[in-house]
């Protein structure tokens, strides 16, 4: 079976003027159709950048310097804006991090969802409106016929995230990038939204690249997990293996650092400093190696 998404040796730099800052250092991963792959790692490890590179929405300074991204076997690393637009919304979609600001404030909920359906599926207004109600029902929104008439500011964060999830799943994409879709929500709502994503994912068979820094979330919905640090994937294994027998010391340290409900009084275990500096030494020597390879080629 060919992988749905195949990222191979991806190098990405932030280039500003003459300086360039490496962000991704040879990331490789693949996603099978219908699979949920978690990406965990500390802040600024480059998780969001992997998602943005896949969707082709990198900031203008973000440049892919090496490697490739294959979607369904086709190279989409550097495709045209037009070709990209044909993918977005239909084959690939995104669940954004902040539901409070990700909906257009001046349009009713119903018309924002219907717009996507009309644009990508070519539905007529009537059919689209009907389909909107079904989609809202799928994301467990009560009285959808009332909600379609509301504006975003009239809904709670949890409701808005459900709307955005409905939009992401609206055109049955094969891949969804979910970039910390629950961090902006409070804990009880987080759990409901996670369950909802999992439920829709199972029902539709959509593959999800799930970015988070919450190992608990990973355990709940991911098939496989990649642990990422400073733009390198340190360990990529099935969720079960990762939790039962983490091989990389950084993963082990992350596990140990996660507070446990079942042991409320145990001390917090931050990732040991020695380990962090060893990792960074590694990164630096990797960067030096890259550079020397460059000069070797020149």
């Amino acid at each position: 079976m060919t992988a749905l998404l195949n990222i191979h040796n991806l190098h990405l730099e932030i280039q500003q003027g003459t300086t360039s800052l490496p962000i991704l250092r040879g990331v490789s991963l693949s996603l099978q159709p219908g699979e949920v792959l978690g990406l965990v790692g500390e802040s600024s490890a480059g998780k969001t950048m992997i998602g943005k590179a896949t969707l082709g929405i990198l900031p203008s300074q973000g440049v892919i310097t090496d490697g490739e991204i294959l979607f369904d076997g086709a190279d989409i690393t550097h495709i045209s804006v037009k070709a990209r637009r044909r993918l977005l919304g239909t084959d690939m979609a995104m669940i954004p991090q902040d539901p409070m600001t990700s909906l257009n404030p001046v349009f009713r909920i119903g018309s924002q969802i219907a717009d996507v359906l009309r644009l990508h599926l070519g539905l007529k207004s009537k059919e689209a409106d009907q389909r909107v109600l079904e989609l809202l029902d799928n994301v467990h929104i009560n009285r959808p016929e009332r909600v379609v008439k509301l504006y975003p500011h009239e809904l709670s964060g949890g409701m808005r995230q459900r709307i955005l999830i409905a939009i992401a799943f609206a055109c049955r994409p094969r891949l969804i990038i979910a970039d910390e879709p629950t961090t902006a929500l409070d804990v009880t709502i987080q759990r409901q939204v996670l369950r909802l994503i999992k439920e829709l994912q199972v029902a539709s068979g959509t593959a999800i690249l799930f970015v988070t820094h919450d190992l608990g979330v990973v355990a709940k919905i991911c098939n496989r997990v990649g642990v990422i640090h400073a733009g390198r994937i340190l360990e990529l294994s099935s969720a079960r293996d990762l939790f039962e027998a983490p091989t990389h010391p950084y993963t082990q340290a992350l596990m140990a650092a996660t507070p446990r409900y079942d042991r409320p009084n145990s001390a917090l275990n931050p990732v040991p400093e020695a380990l962090v500096s060893a990792l960074w030494d590694d990164v630096r020597s990797y960067d030096r190696g890259e550079r020397s390879v460059d000069t070797g080629n020149a």
Partner: protein
């Protein structure tokens, strides 16, 4: 997405939600519109009709007034009230046409500059800088002198000079909107650039545009008055507020009302437009920013 938040207010709901300021501004605006349309019925006399036997009649509250000429007559015995009433036509035409066209030009350029950034933005910003360095009144007089006097020249002058007012504000607001997450989401659902700009961002700056537009209407009235005053607007015997001021200036000692009435009209109209603009902004904004 025609289903914008602006449409949501029914006329009645809008009035109920409006501030006193909006209501005052709106009343002045509607009064001007009504007067302009109904001039022939409202005006007791033909504004051009001369009656030299009845020149310099004072307004009704001064002794010696003729009740047939409520606000008195000018040096040629023309009825001041009728001339003021017909003057609203010119004022309103200039206000509406010039403000709308200025708004369209400035908004388009500002949207493009704010959305595309880069060299487009640099080019537009430098042009705005250069524009702002010219003294506006002087530039308008020169322009009209070059194009030739007339209402169309006044309107062109206003557009050429004032597009920067819209451009600057719209550019800045477009940049702010572009940073919003909803625009990023619009990218990920596959909307084209043009669609994002006109169907997602533009509706969000519409309330701002409406208030800018009403402010610009006030400015247009003043500019028209200035150009009439220096004799560069419509034909000099036609009734315009600026023209009335200019004619009255010669008889300021003898008949001060000839200047007082048109100045009052201009002040009320401009204050009305400004009140409407300010009021609309505060009425529309809380809904958006909540």
């Amino acid at each position: 997405m025609t289903d914008s938040i602006l449409v949501r207010h029914s006329p009645l709901g809008f009035v109920l939600a409006a501030s006193p300021r909006t209501i005052v501004g709106l009343s002045v605006f509607l009064l001007i519109v009504f007067t302009a349309i109904a001039s022939p019925w409202l005006a007791p006399h033909d504004p051009l009709e001369q009656d030299l036997l009845n020149s310099f009649l004072p307004p009704f509250w001064v002794s010696g007034a003729d009740p047939a000429f409520l606000l008195g007559t000018d040096n040629l015995g023309r009825d001041v009230l009728s001339r003021l009433i017909y003057g609203t036509r010119v004022a309103l035409t200039v206000a509406l046409v010039a403000a709308t066209l200025t708004g369209i030009l400035g908004t388009t350029v500002g949207l493009l500059a704010g959305f595309y950034g880069g060299w487009v933005d640099t080019l537009v910003s430098r042009m705005v800088d250069i524009w702002m360095a010219f003294p506006a009144v002087l530039l308008s007089i020169v322009l009209v002198a070059v194009i030739g006097a007339g209402l169309h020249a006044v309107i062109i002058a206003i557009i050429v000079i004032d597009w920067t007012r819209f451009c600057r504000v719209v550019r800045a607001e477009t940049m702010v909107q572009c940073q919003q997450d909803y625009v990023a989401s619009a990218v990920t659902i596959g909307l084209s650039r043009r669609r994002r700009l006109f169907k997602e961002i533009l509706p969000n700056i519409l309330p701002l545009l409406i208030s800018l537009l009403t402010l610009e209407m006030g400015i247009a009235v003043v500019v028209e008055a200035i150009l009439s005053y220096v004799g560069l607007s419509v034909a000099s015997d036609a009734a315009t507020w600026g023209g009335l001021i200019q004619e009255g200036r010669l008889y300021i000692n003898q008949a001060p009302w000839l200047m007082v009435f048109p100045i009052t009209c201009i002040v009320v109209a401009v204050l009305g437009f400004n009140a409407l603009g300010d009021g609309l902004r505060s009425t529309l904004d809380p809904v958006l920013r909540r």
